[in-house]
């Protein structure tokens, strides 16, 4: 497909070397964070780069017990999974209807959802905080989940609308001829075909909920309700009073980082495609 040129010029060679340097720096940073998370704090201060000899797995125990990363990790899993599931479940039928029915109402609705993409989170943070307080849903995982579902709506609907318009309508026409109603043909015919797009939408939402910090900071505060970013922020804050415990801090960083690495090594192409194709269209 690509024609090979003779010998690459010096500029190209330097540029390629530069790209590999950045790639190496990215990988080394992750490796360094992982290694630092199992080193003793005094070792780290003494020598920034070094092998964990002997490995201090106690950092993780400390992070989970004292740092509150244990319950926070569980909360992060619950809130991210629940909010992404609900978001996709609400957005999928809506996106499907918007993709199939081309009327003035539906294109106006599609526009309204797309406009939400341009609203920065700081616009919503005060109203949602006040509103959640009024219905007594602050400092609750349920409240945070609801907020994440709302935040997810513009992107998920927008992305899935693009995805559903790519599925040929012949499928449902055939199902209709066989006597299936719209609901039945959606559930039994369209959804199975759309599985890939739904999984991508779920993954992208999961990732953004996992990393979400502003709303989590504002809406949760008690140890039982906070998510990982809040736990990490408060650990860093307390570390400045109690002296820096870099080992434990980096153990906390790893707890946030590890699922993203795992997801990315498992479903990397799908994630990249979802984040690029959904936008490129």
């Amino acid at each position: 497909m690509r024609s090979e040129h003779g010998s690459p010029g010096p500029v190209r060679r330097i540029a390629t070397a530069f790209v590999w340097c950045v790639v190496a720096a990215d990988l080394l940073l992750i490796l360094w964070i992982a290694l630092t998370s199992i080193r003793g704090s005094t070792d780290i201060l003494h020598e920034a780069f070094g092998l964990p000899l002997p490995p201090h797995f106690g950092n993780y125990a400390k992070a989970f017990d004292e740092g509150g990363f244990g319950p926070a990790a569980l909360n992060s899993v619950v809130v991210s999974t629940a909010s992404s599931l609900v978001a996709v479940a609400l957005a999928a039928p809506c996106a499907y209807a918007l993709a199939r029915r081309r009327t003035r109402t539906s294109s106006a609705l599609t526009m309204t959802f797309a406009m939400g993409l341009g609203v920065p989170g700081q616009v919503l943070v005060v109203p949602l905080f006040v509103g959640m307080a009024q219905v007594d849903l602050t400092d609750s995982q349920f409240g945070l989940t609801l907020v994440y579902v709302g935040l997810a709506m513009p992107f998920t609907v927008f992305m899935l609308t693009g995805f559903f318009s790519g599925i040929p309508a012949v499928l449902e026409e055939a199902a209709a001829l066989d006597g299936a109603g719209p609901l039945r043909s959606f559930v039994q015919v369209v959804l199975p075909v759309a599985r890939g797009g739904l999984i991508t939408a779920f993954l992208l939402q999961f990732i953004s909920a996992w990393n979400e910090t502003l709303f989590a900071l504002v809406l949760t505060h008690s140890q039982e309700q906070i998510t990982l970013p809040v736990a990490l922020a408060s650990f860093v804050a307390s570390a400045q009073l109690n002296g820096l415990d870099y080992g434990t801090m980096f153990a906390g960083v790893c707890v946030i980082l590890a699922p993203m690495i795992a997801l990315f090594s498992w479903m990397g192409t799908r994630i990249i495609q979802g984040m690029t194709v959904g936008i490129g269209k």
């Binding site: 024609s3 040129h5 500029v11 190209r12 540029a15 530069f18 790209v19 790639v23 990215d26 990988l27 964070i33 920034a48 039928p93 809506c94 209807a97 199939r100 029915r101 309204t112 959802f113 939400g116 341009g118 609203v119 920065p120 700081q122 616009v123 919503l124 943070v125 005060v126 109203p127 949602l128 006040v130 509103g131 907020v147 709302g150 709506m153 609907v157 209709a176 006597g179 719209p182 996992w210 990393n211 910090t213 502003l214 504002v218 970013p229 990490l232 922020a233 860093v236 804050a237 400045q240 820096l244 801090m249 946030i256 980082l257 993203m260 690495i261 990397g268 690029t276 936008i279 490129g280």
Partner: protein, 321 residues
């Protein structure tokens, strides 16, 4: 079902009248679609309206009042906005937001183009692309914390510089240097993402265009200028909008940059997101919710204006290839 099918004779479809009847909503498919429309869209619209649109409206409402969140709301009208622009902290954060948007955007896109240029013809480009992409999946705080350690006065960067003979290294994390450091981190983490989007578009460009350009003796830069750029222009303009929106949202990277979170980071490094946060949830003083929402709305207006202007400027005839 069968009766409705009889409503539409077969010949209609052939003549294209089926399509017309669908537009007028008389075909069975159209009738079905109309019946399903409301139940299918209502839940998402409800969630969006209650949890997203209503809060935006409430923000506009709140921005016209003086309010501490507890007591009565005191009408202030547009005075909040006037006070906002008189507040030096807000002006700094607005300027910083602009700097992140413009300088960060220029650097990010320049580097992304360079990377695309190189990656397109590189071995193991998929691997390199994936690694470069990864940082955008990482919480910004992680980079803030890592930078706080790496660039601390006795940290590894200064140790390395000392080894190289630099005895007075820059004070990396001093207040003056925070914003450039944040900018650098931001550009580094964002380039991979935009490179991936631009490359996805570049992959769609048929190779014969490059071959033709090469036969005409175009060098790498000329191929980029005359083939890649025009063919990928649509995607690039979407990326520019995307950058504008996301650069205004940056929050956790600044909040924890250099590990400063026992108190808020110095105001010199705030952007409007930080300003909103510090006004609405202050550590020692009374919350100023009216000012906070007014500041948030200023950043919304900023995003909107920049986006509209940019779309105007970047509009080109769509290219068929």
């Amino acid at each position: 079902m069968t009766t409705t099918l009889h409503d539409r004779p077969r010949t209609d479809t052939v003549r294209g009248a089926g399509r017309a009847s669908r537009r007028h909503g008389t075909g069975p498919q159209a009738r079905q679609q109309r019946r399903m429309f409301l139940p299918f869209t209502a839940p998402a619209i409800l969630a969006y309206a209650v949890l997203f649109l209503a809060p935006v409206g409430y923000a506009i409402w709140t921005s016209l009042y003086k309010w501490d969140g507890m007591g009565a709301m005191e009408w202030r009208g547009l005075k909040n906005y006037q006070l906002l622009f008189e507040d030096p902290f807000f002006r700094t954060s607005l300027v910083n937001t602009f700097k992140l948007m413009v300088i960060g955007g220029t650097l990010t896109f320049a580097i992304s183009f360079l990377l695309t240029l190189v990656l397109r013809e590189m071995k193991a480009r998929l691997f390199a692309r994936s690694v470069l992409f990864f940082p955008c999946l990482v919480n910004g705080m992680v980079f803030g914390i890592a930078a706080g350690f790496l660039f601390s006065p006795d940290g590894p960067v200064n140790q390395a510089l000392h080894f190289l003979g630099v005895t007075t290294p820059p004070k990396w994390l001093s207040t003056d240097n925070l914003l450039p450091m944040i900018l650098g981190t931001l550009v580094w983490t964002a380039t991979g993402y935009y490179t991936a989007i631009i490359m996805a578009a570049v992959d769609q460009i048929p190779p014969h265009l490059y071959e033709a350009a090469e036969l005409d003796g175009a060098n790498a830069f000329q191929r980029f200028r005359h083939v890649t750029l025009p063919c990928a222009w649509d995607v690039i303009s979407v990326c520019a909008v995307l950058w504008t929106v996301s650069s205004v949202k940056i929050f956790e990277l600044i909040l924890l940059f250099g590990g400063t979170s026992s108190s808020y980071p110095p105001a010199e490094s705030w952007n409007t997101a930080l300003y909103v946060y510090t006004q609405a949830f202050p550590q020692a003083t009374v919350p100023r919710l009216g000012m906070a929402t007014a500041a948030a709305l200023v950043s919304l207006v900023m995003v909107t204006v920049v986006t509209v202007v940019m779309r105007r400027l970047m509009r080109r005839e769509p290219l068929e290839y």
